[in-house]
Amino acid sequence: MPLSLYYFLSITAVNILMSWALYVPYRVTQLHFITIANMMISGYLAGYLVLHAHVPFIWALLIGFAVGGIIGFIVSLFIGDAPTFSVVIVGFTSIYITRTIVENLPIIGGTMGMFGLPNIGGNPGTHRWIILCILYGLVILCGFLIYRFDHSSIGRAASAVFVDKELASSLGIDIKKLGMLVQTFSCTLAGGVGVLYGFIYRSFHLDFFGFALIGIFMTVLFVGGYSTQWGPLITAPILYGLPLFFPTEVQSWRIVIYGLLLILVLELKPEGFITRKFVHSLGLSFSRKRAKEIYSKEEEQ
C-alpha cells in the first residue's frame, strides 16, 4: 500500500472516531473536549508501557481504552448533567492540566516528546496493516454502536434532552445518567484512539494533542452535520483529503478555507450537510426503490 494512502486512511479514521467522540455527548448538548486530554493521557501511558515496561501493544491499547473510560466516568459524576458551557470549560481546563503534567514528567519525554515507539508486528508493513485493521474495525464497531444508540429509546431520550432539558426531565428522563453514559463512552473511545494516534507516528509530542485538533474535529462534526453519525463519516475524508490535492499556493489558505467553510455552513446550513431529514429521505427513496424491485420481481414470478 502506498505510504501516503496509509497515512491518509489512518488519520481519516482517527478524525472520524474522534468526531464521533464529540458527536455522542453533543446529542445531549455537551461539547466534551476532555476527550483530547484523554487521548493525551492514554497515548502517553501506552507509549510508556510499550517502550519502557515492554508491555505488549494490545494490552497497552486496552489499558488506554480503560483509563480513558475511568477518567470519563469519574469526571461525569460531576458534570454528567452540566450545561454546555461548563462542560467546555472543564474540557479546556483538563487539556491545560494534562499538558502541564506531561511537560513536567521527564520519564515520558516531558517537553521533548517520546521517540522510537516500536513497530507492532516487528516490521513497518505489518505495523501499518495492524493499525489500519484496528482503526477501521473500531470505525465499524463504533458506527454500529452509535447507530444502535441513535435508534434506541436512549437515543430518543438524548434527542429530547437536546431540544429541551426541562421537558425531557418532565418525561422522566434521567439527564445525569444519560450524560454520564455518553461522556464515559466518548472518553473510552478517545483513550483508545489516542494510543493509536501515537502509534501511527510512532512518537508522541504534546503538540499532537493541541487545540488544532479541536478545530479539526469540530469542523468535521459541524460541517458534516451534528444531528446524525453519518456527517462525520462522510466529511472527515473529504475535509482531510481534499486539501492534500490542492496546489501549493492554495494549500497555504487551507486554514482560511476551513474557517470560511465552517462559517458558511453554520450560517446557511446550521445542522450541517448531512441532516436527519436528509438521511431519512435517502432511506425512504432507497426503500421505495427496493419495494418497487421486490414488487416487480413478484409480479414476474
Partner: protein
Amino acid sequence: MKRQIVALLLILVAVSFGFSQTKVVVNEWRIPFLNCLTGPIAAIGEFLQWGANYAANEINAAGGIAGKPVRVIPVDTGNDPQKGSVEMARIVKDSLVAMGPVPEPVILAAMPIAVENQMMSITATTSYEYAVQFFPWTVSWFPPTLDRLPALVIGWAKQFSDLKQVVQFIEPYGPWPGMAEAHSKALAGLNIKELKAIEVPTDAVTFGPLVVRALDQKPDGIILVCNAEKAAKIIKELKSRGWTKMNHILVFSSADDAQLYSTGGADLNGVQVYNYLNLEVSNPRWDKFKAAFAKDHNGQMPFSLSPNYYDALYMIKEAIEKTGVTGDPKKLKEERKKIADYCANVKGFQGLLYEWDMKDGVPTNKPSYIFEIQNGVKQFVLEVRP
C-alpha cells in the same frame, strides 16, 4: 597489433561506461522542503524558505548542481503533524533527499517515515537531541546541548565579578528546558548560586507576577529561556521594576528573532544574547546574503536561523557533486545513502559564515557568539569555539 587494438577498445568501452555511470540523468534537481509556511510560526518558516530559495538562485546562476538547475519545492506542513506525515509519505516515494521538517512536532511525526524509507532529510533548525533520534538519515546542525551551551554561559558570567546569584525564566517548550539545564551546569561549575527557576507558561500574556517572583529572590543575573516576545516583555517588566544591570541579562538563541527587537525596543539596550549567527562577520557571500535579506525584509538583518537552509542546500549540492550522484531513479536507494554518508562526515564545509566539519552527523567546530544589544543592533562581545 590486433591485441593492442582490442585492449584499446576495451579501455574505451570501460571509460565510456564509467562516464555514463556518473552522468546526471535528471533535468532538474527537485529538493522538497517540508516547511511551516502557515500557522503560528509562519514568520520563521518564511525566512527559512527565503534562505533556501536564495541558495537555489545562487547555485543556478553559477551553473546548478552538476550542471543541472536545482529547485526547492516548498511543502507547507502548517505546523500540523497530520499534514506533515502525509507529505513526507509522498516525498519518500521518489525524492533523492529533502530538507526539513520544521518544527519539532512535525519532525517527530514525519521523520520516522524518512528513516524507514532510508531517505535523508536535513533538519537544520532543531537541536541535536531531536536530530540524533533519526541518525543516520539526518544530521544535527548543532552539537549536543550539554556540550555547547555551558561554554557560552561561562563566557557571559565571567565578564561580571558581581554575579553571585542567577535566576532563569524557563518556558516549557521542546528542547528549551534541556537548554536551561545546560545553563545550570555552567553556573554550578562557576560556583554561582542558581535561584529557583521561574516557569513561563506557554500561554502567558502578563509577566508582572513572574518578574516579581524572580526579583524577590534578589538575583544578580537573569537568563531568559523563552520565546522572543515573552523575553522582550519580561525585560520591559524588569526595567519598569527598577532593574538596571542590563548586561546581566542573557537571552538564549531561540529568542533572538524579530519579535525580540520589535517588542523590546530601546528597553533591550545593554542586554546580552547568544547565538550562532554573527552579523559582524564579513565575507562576500555573507555580505551579499545580508544585503538581499534586508532588501526583502524591510531593511532587517538576517535572523538567527536564516542561513541554515541556505547552508543545507549547499551541503546537498556538495554531496551530489562529490559522490557522483546521478539522480537515476533506479539507483535511488544507493544514492540516498551516498548523500547521507557524505553529509554526516563532511570536512571543511564552506558555510555562509564559516567553515566547519561534521563527525558522524554532528558539527565539531562551529563557533557561537555573545552579543550586546544597543539600539536594536547586536554588538559582538565574544566568540566561543568548542
